[in-house]
Subunit: 459 residues, 4 copies
């Protein structure tokens, strides 16, 4: 009747995490100013990898006895974990990859709290301050590497995709890996995993040992997209906007695979940046790709972009259907362009300081009925600002679909309402309907009830 | 209209191959005593990996302009290759894995010729002399490693298998890899690749860097089973018998997946050894495994073994259906048993000197109509000797199916004839018919014409 | 007649220093709030290694054209250096060891300024706050290493010593190195170099590759004790007190070789800690050693300690004359004691949190005529507090001998005056006279004029 | 009364020595065809490093209970050693460097016996056959490295030298090491150690990790010149001539420091090669260097060469007095010349196949009264042949001074007699007298009795 307590002690294996006594205490502190609650949520998500649950609340409910403490002693830091998910263990021993992820969580929670939030060194209301904070988080996580040529490709796309789409993303990964390119994704399953697993094989075929599979996550999404075990460098950014900025400044190019509203959010985010007049001259390779079966998906995306952002945006969509080798060769060539540009502009290879990101793309968008309703979804503004507003719309839809607060809000007050120019609204509705039809809204897609409502007329 | 000569120079990348002037000359020597012909055949096979052709003759016909020369100069050895297969290149550069395979071929051809065949140091008509030769070839290839605990699992099985069977073998590989076990196979596609590709993923999940994917091949089979790109240690043994002995003495356990007559040859080879009274006390883990769909396959194998070799042999078949984790856990545990035994018997971990292999399992069986007909397929002998005779029967069938000389012999004189005790013959026929039905005879299995004929009565 | 500007650009070679734009700007900032002046002084000292000048002012005068700028670009950070000392170069290329030292200076100046001084995260008036700051500086410099057993020995002693004493310290280093112990010193010449050079040879004899030669310095002393080229981990602490605390908490034992007043300062510092009643149970190996010729030196030290701190202090002096192997064996054994203690007290191996250091040993002692005169050199206090006061006295004498501000003060106002209990004063005078006689006061010892005056009676 | 047996078991630490059962047996075989006697002599010499005894017989007499056995088992090979010299141990554990040397001895004795002497693969009466044998021994010892640019400098000179000369050779080593050059010597004390110890420091200053300190020895000399502990690659060539050839073909340049008759033997050997008309165009840097105090030594050498070999030989002596940096810079520059030449002549960097070595320099010279008397020390022959004859004369003198057989022969029959052209004889006598005076004849130089007699007239 009573559950026996299953407690185990985990130490980093050759890793370098070192905490001061004070930091260890913060992580054990259950109070509101402490970090234990956050640590507990993130750790559980990390250990639950491979089990598809896209809701953090549900996960905590399923593991009510899960608990975690931190001690700094002996050869270094120790984590005492109570009742971890069984799937994290092989013959009673924690999978090394997951152990690394756990310690990455510890590292980032402590650093963000102390050095970013509490130190007063960064003005987080200022665009430059936010960029500087992102830089410091990445540097502290040791993902910025000198003496490496541009070779990092971010892969975006859905985490709930078909086997066919997964296999295609894996083949793109093989092609990238065999060209000695590294991979950066949002670090969950699906398209976050396929290119990494593929690149791993490609890297091995080339005996390429400097293999990097970088996962960028944030506390709000980590439960839904637990880092897959291929990820060998994990960073927990404090929020979705810093995570997106980290992608753009860290990677040297982006490939977008098919996905749902989250993928559209990402596409609109990068389009908003690339359409920004300040970035006209800035080289930044972007490719949209998928297997043959995705032809109509891309047609829908093109239609939506043409109806909302127009021809210039359409021109930036570099769609390549069913051709992993061409996609990879293109990226490989573009790395040379990036390299030349960084030399010319005296910019670092490991962090793109030059590209301009508007303050409204950096500030946290908190989706509420009010903020969603207030989005300016009209053409009476430059395309890059409209792209930014549209990205908020999709961000809100994602929240309404899978995030704890969003789900609560929709449960209480009904679906979020969006309004704007009629043709934008029509295009939006059409795209969203297509996604529902293709079951791209959430993992449990069978009985999807929209978390949004499109209002056809601006009120 | 005329094909331009496409010549390229390949150097080992950080590898250690060093040749004397004399050795380089041997490799360029087109005469009968030279090594160029052998080098050309093996190199072409290595570069043709991934393209399924199970006949070396056909391969040479398809690449009449392929040529290879060797020079020893500057920073080391250079290979000049004319008209290599395009699939070996990524954006014009040879895949590093294939480059390594090429240099392994060079290393082994030279060593076997000079140090084994010509030196007079080894009596190749003597059992101990053959074992010593196998040891020296493996040592020269640097696959014998001290300071490593027993952890090497040989995987045998078909190279022409279904996607389902491939996926199962890959999952077994993941389970082995996550237990930090290494893999050794015959190095072609199918079951030779699945466990390696899986182990690669499993090793990465565990951040296990001492990853070994050993491929053991021989000149007669390398064209049909070109080393897959996962193989990171390739050894070309001089013939099929030394290759089989290398497997048994190098690996610490064997897993057999479903396959065709080649797999039966392997199963009978290891059974002949394990049934040998001299090996009664010798621990040697053997598992037969496959996915659910293979249940009837294993039933047929069991029936065949029970009808021919009897209960003791049947007891050695450890069949585990559809359970990668159990298979891997069993192997992991057995490694401790092996370790203890090696310590007790003062034997090396890296080479099993203790296990006894009968001389007739070591001597080359050359399948001809005469030698096949002369096989003693009767029960009037100990089970381990019958197993040895049966293994020759399957060896001959493989030769008649896919090997150059065997194909020629069958084309000229009709199928090989086999005769023996009626119930053995009946069991043999039943098993072979089942394999034809399951299309396990050769890759191009559609219109298979048997290369053998079962004579029901002994003369 | 006119000196051509000799400008060169230096990049870290595989090192990991990465700066934000803002940090690079700080380092170029010549204003009072900028770091350029400090960077310039420290860099010049680092590059001037091997040339014995124990005064930073003189060094700057000798290199009026020396200048340094910092840029963050391309593959990482760049230093632009104008007119560096020639001795730093081999055939026109900067010695790699010095390049590393330069980037260590950059790393520490930036970190201390931003994260320690300006962040508000550390209360530097509080004992625990200071300890925490020391921990963070060492952690940021990556000298705290997990998964390493206690093996670090600090070596203290004079930088202006005879060839004989240097050779002895080198032999102690060999003996330590052959026992796989690592070395930590104040990083200049003499005793700071001998044990490192010796350990380097000892480590090589043992093929020990985890070789650490840690140098701890601070801006005020780096010119006088430029890091020798053996140092492969350099940390610039912000002041002398944090440097001493870093020694005590980082190392697992201390060896003190003969030296001058600086060495006495160090001896009194560690005695004050070890005599502290709170540390009675704390294991901390301390050895004083020297070659045969140092017998009378150690007699004088013993006499001084017996006259001032008494028998308990005398008991802590573990003097071993002329026996490198015994010294090293003792340290090696003590490492096991330390290890057990750290396990029992749940303390880290890489940082000694347990040992208590009194606040007055942590606070900066600024030697002025007033503060020197105010020292409480009487026995009317516990021995560990008297030791602390005496250490300040020696600290002031060092300042008056070689440090810029001390030299200025003495030049203006005459020697510092010290007063206290007559027997303490007598013992002090006797020891100082002995040191003058032995030319241990400063490198240019010929015409030494005392920077102090001993007042025999307390006024 | 009975001595307790002090037996210990040594295993290679991560090394790769693997023996077959048969090879292990050979090493334990005490019969004349076995290798145990040779193994015992060489092992004792290796373990006795640091203790200066220049006679192997004496060494064996001092350690009558020393014994060694070999087993191949468990994780690899094991050496069971009885009563080894205490100096080989630190706190009861064998110094890792010596352990490596022991296993190098095992490797080379086995390989030379089986693959060179007994295999019949090499015609050791043929010049090309001998060169090929040298190549194979070096390749088997893994000292031939591809992908490395020319960077290896051989240092020759006396093992019984003054502290001053030792220090100078160490400074040359530092200068070479700081230019990333590697060192190869005869591997004993004195000049065999100084440049290595210096290079070790220089390499560390440059953080140069590809550090090679190659020692080339042979069974007849290893007792007198036990490999110093800096040597990290040791090769035991079968005789003095193959050792000298190994030096010339492996190194890319030679520095000769002052020494005794052994050094003259080496100088005459390389001069014989460089003066050979077939090598006129071959670039091969040679420098003679020493500290200021060696000026008269070099004058004597110059005089001797001018009187015997004449001006052309004199021109090849590149004497640089007291200037480590110039010596090292010159060598560094010459490496580029070597590199170009090897590319042009398609020769390997790691083995000089091009340079011609006359058969009489390759054949073993066995010094007897007859063979010494028969030397053709006249000018009626080309200079390079006279150099070769003179080198034999010095070789015999060395044997009469320190080698077992030579000592015996001289004890029985009186000093070796040398005769030839009067001016050659006079020059020879003068040089030898100078060497006696400078105590360069043997370590125990006090009461040196010449092992030779110069006959003034040719009979």
């Amino acid at each position: 009747m009573s559950t026996k307590n299953n407690e185990m002690t985990i130490r980093p294996n050759g890793a370098l995490q070192i905490l001061s006594k004070q930091e260890a205490n913060q992580l054990c502190d259950h109070s509101d100013t402490g970090l234990n609650d956050l640590l507990r949520r993130c750790s559980l998500a990390v250990l639950n990898t491979g089990n598809n649950i896209d809701c953090g609340e549900k996960l905590l409910e399923m593991h009510p006895d899960f608990d975690i403490k931190v001690q700094s002693r002996g050869r270094g830091i120790e984590l005492i974990i109570c009742n971890p998910p069984e799937s994290a263990f092989i013959d009673g021993e924690m999978l090394e990859g997951l152990r690394e992820h756990l310690f990455a969580v510890v590292r980032d929670l402590v650093y963000v709290r102390n050095n970013i939030t509490d130190s007063g060194l960064f003005d987080l209301n200022d665009s430059a301050g936010i960029t500087n904070a992102v830089f410091h988080i990445l540097r502290n996580a040791e993902v910025l590497r000198t003496n490496e040529e541009p070779n990092l490709v971010a892969c975006w796309g859905g985490h709930a995709i078909s086997r066919r789409e997964y296999e295609y993303s894996r083949h793109v990964g093989i092609a990238l890996g065999e060209r000695r390119l590294n991979i950066c994704t949002g670090c969950g399953p699906g398209v976050m995993k396929g290119p990494m697993r593929g690149a791993e094989a490609g890297h091995h075929n080339q005996r390429f040992t400097n293999r990097r599979y970088i996962g960028l996550s944030e506390p709000g999404i980590i439960a839904a997209e637990a880092p897959n075990t291929v990820v060998n460098e994990l960073v927990i950014l404090p929020d979705i906007e810093k995570r997106l900025e980290a992608f753009v400044r860290l990677a040297h190019g982006i490939i977008i695979f098919p996905g749902g509203p989250g993928t559209l959010e990402e596409l609109l985010y990068i389009l908003s940046i690339l359409l920004d007049p300040k970035n006209t001259q800035h080289p930044y390779p972007l490719v949209l790709t998928g297997d043959k079966g995705c032809a109509n998906y891309f047609e829908e995306v093109k239609y939506f972009i043409s109806q909302t952002l127009g021809q210039t945006a359409l021109d930036r969509l570099n769609i390549q259907l069913d051709n992993p080798d061409d996609v990879a060769s293109f990226m490989k060539q573009q790395m040379q362009v990036i390299k030349k540009d960084r030399i010319q502009t005296s910019d670092a290879y490991y962090f793109n300081w030059q590209i301009h990101i508007e303050a409204d793309l950096q500030k946290t968008f908190e989706p509420t009925h009010q903020s969603m309703r207030a989005l300016n979804l009209t053409k009476a503004q430059p395309a890059h600002l409209l792209a930014s507003q549209l990205r908020c719309a999709f961000s809100g839809i994602v929240a309404g679909n899978v995030k704890a607060e969003g789900l609560r809000a929709v449960a209480q007050h009904g679906p979020f309402e969006l309004c704007g120019d009629p043709e934008i609204m029509a295009a939006l509705e059409r795209l969203l309907n297509f996604m529902i039809e293709q079951k791209r809204m959430k993992i449990d897609a069978e009985n999807y009830i929209p978390s949004y409502r499109i209002l056809k007329t601006t009120q």
